[in-house]
């Protein structure tokens, strides 16, 4: 789901080595290298930008940049992973405490610094794989990097790491479960909160505080009033009126891993309650069918056709879902025509939005982990 990008993550920023041991990163780097060998890539450069699109470099390092700027992870076939981040050297002590990479280099311009390093170390090799540079990197930097790599064979490796990220290890699924528990708690807080006179912004502030106290590193909140034209949006300084039905999207990252949930609430005279809607039963019928081997298009049809079969008009504005993990939006995408098969170890953010005669619009959504026999709902 697309959300507002924050100026800073602001929340608890630690690397808990029990929750995510260094061996996890070593194993990931080995998997990346195996893919590089398959694709005849000598050197892989992964790019991440800002506080939303950090997943690929983070996968091999646990590193997330402080400001909305760029990071390059350099993965050679042998030797250590090297990270270049846009920023000053003063932040190195705290940044080094949250990454397994010891070669962390501050740079004014990551493309130039990376190019200089490649030259110095004699790493300008025959085949270089580029992960998401054209899509993410400012063009001036991209062009400087490409010039420095002149003479190399450049291979588009944009899909390599996202494909590996689709299958989560047990440790990764546990982190997503931890994030999911916080989302769940915050939704419970909505139901127990007093609605009298509360503004949308105050509700958001209250939920954020709860999530932060539970250890949320980053939080994304969107809201929509069910019978208004506007789609999901940031909260506004307006009172939630009794009788109003609103959709709440809530996502949090815990130790880099995301979970999201969506619920539709009605404001009563004194409290909020989740609305009863057929959308919810359609949703749960559809997720009961998910198991390894089912394709993303089958999941799409289960949701879409299930809604229509129940007399609801499904809305496809936000998509029906996607993978979730180090990113809020990653493969596989739940799409009408996709033939990607779901596998044990995947995590999905699955959502259903419908037009409902009683309320206007209703949405339901959860984060799910795919197990051997079906899905586990973590939010």
């Amino acid at each position: 789901m697309e959300t507002m990008h924050p100026a800073l993550k602001n929340g608890r920023n630690v690397w808990d080595r029990v929750n995510m041991p260094e061996s996890q990163f070593q194993a990931r780097v080995e998997r990346v290298r195996a893919q590089m060998k398959k694709s005849a890539i000598d050197l892989l450069l992964l790019y991440g930008r800002g506080l939303t699109e950090y997943a690929d470099p983070c996968y091999v390092s646990n590193f997330v940049i402080r400001l909305p700027r760029g990071t390059i992870a350099l993965v050679p076939l042998d030797g250590p992973v090297v990270l270049f981040f846009e920023g000053g050297p003063r932040g190195l002590p705290s940044l080094l405490a949250t990454t397994c990479v010891t070669e962390l280099k501050a740079a004014g311009n990551v493309a130039k610094e990376c190019a200089k390093y490649l030259k110095e170390k004699g790493l300008v090799t025959r085949t270089v794989g580029l992960g998401r540079f054209e899509e993410q990197m400012p063009y001036q930097e991209f062009r400087a990097l490409k010039e420095a790599l002149a003479g190399c064979k450049i291979v588009d490796a944009a899909a390599m790491v996202p494909n590996l990220r689709m299958l989560k290890s047990g440790k990764e699924s546990d982190e997503i479960r931890r994030a999911g528990r916080i989302v769940k708690k915050c939704f419970e807080l909505v139901s127990s909160a007093c609605s009298i006179g509360m503004s949308e912004q105050f509700l958001e502030a209250t939920l954020r505080k709860q999530a932060r106290l539970e250890g949320a590193e980053d939080i994304r909140v969107l809201l929509a009033v069910a019978n208004e034209k506007k789609s999901l949006r940031p909260s506004e300084n307006r009172r939630i009126e009794p009788g109003q039905v609103f959709i709440l999207y809530f996502a949090i990252a815990y130790e880099r891993y995301w979970a999201e949930g969506i619920k539709t609430f009605a404001a009563g005279e004194a409290s909020f309650s989740e609305v009863a809607s057929d959308a919810k039963s359609v949703y749960y019928q559809a997720i009961a069918l998910i198991k390894p081997g089912r394709t993303v298009s089958q999941v799409y049809r289960d949701l879409f056709d299930g809604a229509r079969g129940s007399g609801l008009e499904p809305l496809s504005d936000y998509g029906l879902g996607n993978g979730i993990g180090l990113s809020l939006d990653e493969p596989p995408v739940i799409s009408e025509r996709g033939d990607q098969k779901l596998k044990e170890g995947m995590s999905l953010a699955l959502r259903l939005a419908v037009s409902d005669k009683t309320h206007g619009r209703v949405m339901v959504g959860n984060t799910l982990t795919v197990g051997k026999n079906g899905v586990e709902e973590v939010t």
């Binding site: 402080r66 002590p93 705290s94 063009y139």
Partner: protein, 372 residues
């Protein structure tokens, strides 16, 4: 004349003056304390998705192309630009809209630092793109009444954030819990985003996002408390000691306060922004810490704040040639690493006026000691 019409008029004048056929104002959707948010400033609405552009022809026709498509209604309601179009394929739609608007030949591009290669390739296949950040920087020099109201209101929120900092900083509280309390009060007071870096301990090396560390008696807690409202940043740099501060700490903080005061006195319209940095570095250097005034210990001595970071820019240091101007919002911070005390935070955001500066914060910049 409405604010949009004024902004359009100003930008059209500059477009014509530079012989451009039009202007593209681009945003990657990020909100940075150290970089300008030109598109947000231009259209009055913060974009959500990763690719967004306002297109303006030299005849004054204007439209906004945004992602995600479902955000169109919000942007249309909030933006000064009413022709808002959602896009599921930005590269294709940007090129199409440029052709539809006749944006060919020499076209200005503001926000190029956020434009990715794939978008640039699409746009430059239609027009000869020319750097045009200066158009938005020029437009932002005069602040509308509405902008000034946001400046004062964001300053009010920053004070509320600092009061929470002072109230909740106590032994046993974890750094991230302290930030949670500050974020809560500032958001409840109307902030739509927050930027808080802090650190705690007997000898801080830098400021960072909050960790698990529990505060202890005797700790020096430093923080950059920065609410954002409608894109306007406002920063207070504060130091709180849990317990009685050591004499050496008082002495060194007094020196920083002197540096702060002298740098404020140096600020006035039409003088180079470097004077602010030089004034503070002079005081700190005379106290024997010249080498600690520069990298790797220190970087910028302040930033220009507006929607993101506008003139005099994301980093004011001894080399900044841009001049201060009336109505600029500038954070002035002699935040300093000193070997005896560690890193200390000191400073606040001020408004440049005809006679010098106007303090925007109600809370005082000083060394705060909290009884424990």
């Amino acid at each position: 004349m409405t604010e949009m019409n004024l902004k359009l008029k100003k930008s059209l004048e500059l477009i014509h003056k530079k012989g451009l056929n039009g202007l593209i104002v681009y945003s990657g959707g990020t909100c940075s304390i150290l970089a300008p948010s030109y598109l947000h400033y231009f259209c009055g609405c913060r974009p959500m998705g990763p690719r967004n552009a306002a297109l303006l022809t030299k005849t004054g026709k204007v439209a906004l192309l945004i992602q995600p498509s479902w955000d169109t209604q919000r942007v249309s309601d909030k933006s000064r630009i009413k022709d808002v179009r959602g896009s599921a394929n930005f590269k294709r739609d940007l090129a199409r809209l440029m052709r539809e608007f006749g944006l060919t030949g020499r076209v200005g591009l503001a926000g190029s630092a956020e434009m990715t290669e794939e978008v640039y390739a699409a746009a430059s296949s239609v027009a000869d793109l020319q750097p045009a950040d200066f158009i938005i920087e020029e437009m932002s020099r005069e602040k509308a009444e509405e902008e000034m109201e946001i400046v004062y209101d964001t300053a009010r929120i920053a004070d509320i954030g600092f009061e929470a900092f002072l109230e909740f900083a106590r032994p046993g509280v974890r750094e991230y819990e302290l930030v949670a309390e500050m974020e809560f009060v500032m958001r409840a007071a109307g902030a739509d985003d927050i930027f808080i870096l802090l650190s705690s301990g007997q000898h801080n090396e830098e400021m960072h996002e909050p960790t698990d560390r529990r505060l202890r008696a005797g700790d020096i807690i430093i923080g950059e408390i920065t609410p954002v409202r409608e894109g306007q940043f406002m920063q207070l740099c504060r130091t709180v000691v849990l317990g009685e501060p050591a004499p050496i700490l008082k002495e060194k903080y007094d020196m920083l306060l002197r540096a702060f005061r002298e740098s404020l006195e140096a600020i006035r319209p039409e003088v180079e922004a470097s004077v602010m940095s030089k004034a503070m570095n002079r005081v700190i250097s005379e106290a024997g810490y010249a080498k600690f005034c520069y990298p790797p210990y220190m970087r910028a001595r302040g930033h220009g704040f507006g929607v993101g970071s506008l003139r005099p820019g994301g980093a004011v240091d001894d080399e900044t040639k841009l001049t201060f101007e009336k109505q600029q919002v500038v954070v002035v911070h002699p935040n300093q690493y000193l070997p005896e005390t560690g890193y200390l935070a000191c400073g606040e955001t001020v408004l440049v006026t005809d006679g010098g500066v106007e303090r925007l914060a109600k809370t005082e910049t000083k060394l705060y000691a909290k009884e424990v």
